[in-house]
Amino acid sequence: MSEQHDLGLDSDATGPLVRPYVMTQGRQRGDAVQLDMISVVIAARAEVDEMALEPEQVRILQLCRRAQSVAEVSAHLDVPVAVVKVLLGDLIGRGYVLARAPYTTQSPVSRDILQAVLDGIQRL
């Protein structure tokens, strides 16, 4: 919207800008959470009121005790990515899950990141 004007980017050409961090606690409308297939998610709290959640969401929270991507949650649950995104979006909106958006070429990757990737592959 208007706060993006000063970024100097043509949003028609670059597509919607992905916020670097998708925060919780209503700072973003639940519906507006933009999850990517490789957004990394993690459970935000130790205590969970399981009665207030769908069974799939309880399973998602169990999986999310360890940080992992939306795609991994989808694969482990055997639920399509699109569905997992909706369930996770709800959990993020309610403050149960934190998410971090991926690096994208819209936010150019730094030399440090490239060097880290090179080192990481070399160590395999």
Partner: protein
């Protein structure tokens, strides 16, 4: 354990980056992913809805079809703050709409070429060239298959000189590592000299 709502997400959550592994059906995409991934390759499904037009006469009823696309992927933890995902792209042309989302934000791509059916990687090469996604071509040398030289592959695919071409054996981790390293170095060069 008390939760700390003010905790910043980036203190605890690694960011992810992705590399695409493309190529025709049977070129060895899943083999490559499996050889370098720290987890057994996972498979996920994306359900896509497409408007189907001009196929059936439905007298003005807007028909939609859903297509399920399976994606295989693996993971390499780079450090505490960074995870690399490798996605095998669906081989069939009719899933190109899926590639658009997959290609968005990708660091780069490996196009695996099968020397028995070199033409099956043409669509991948075209796609990444048009999208400006940096890529390398890795010729998966199957046993018993005709071995082309790097130059022959480059000529057959009409590749620009700057696109690296490597010969590899997708089953071998060391060989796949060399391919991925070549890609990341190529990405670094592409950034240094924007086309």
């Amino acid at each position: 354990m008390a939760s700390n709502d003010s905790e910043r997400a980036d203190d605890r959550i690694p960011a992810a980056i992705k590399i695409l592994i493309a190529g025709g059906f049977g070129a060895g995409k899943t083999t490559l992913v499996g050889a370098v991934s720290e987890i057994a390759p996972l498979s996920t499904e994306e359900v896509m809805t497409e408007a189907s037009m001009g196929v059936d006469d439905l007298s003005g009823v807007e028909a939609k079809t859903t297509t399920t696309v399976a994606l295989d992927f693996g993971r390499i933890s780079i450090n505490d703050d960074l995870v690399l995902y490798l996605f095998g792209t669906p081989g069939q042309e009719r899933f190109w709409f899926m590639w658009e989302e997959l290609a968005l934000g990708a660091l780069g791509a490996v196009v695996l070429a099968d020397t028995r059916r070199l033409e099956t990687c043409f669509p991948s090469v075209d796609f990444f060239e048009r999208r400006g996604v940096p890529f390398v071509v890795a010729v998966n040398c199957f046993e018993g298959a005709h071995h082309y030289t790097e130059g022959e592959v480059r000529e057959a695919l009409s590749l620009a000189d700057r696109v690296p071409v490597l010969l590899c054996d997708a089953r071998r981790r060391e060989s796949d590592k060399a391919v991925l390293l070549a890609l990341v170095r190529h990405v670094a060069e592409s950034m240094a000299t924007p086309v």
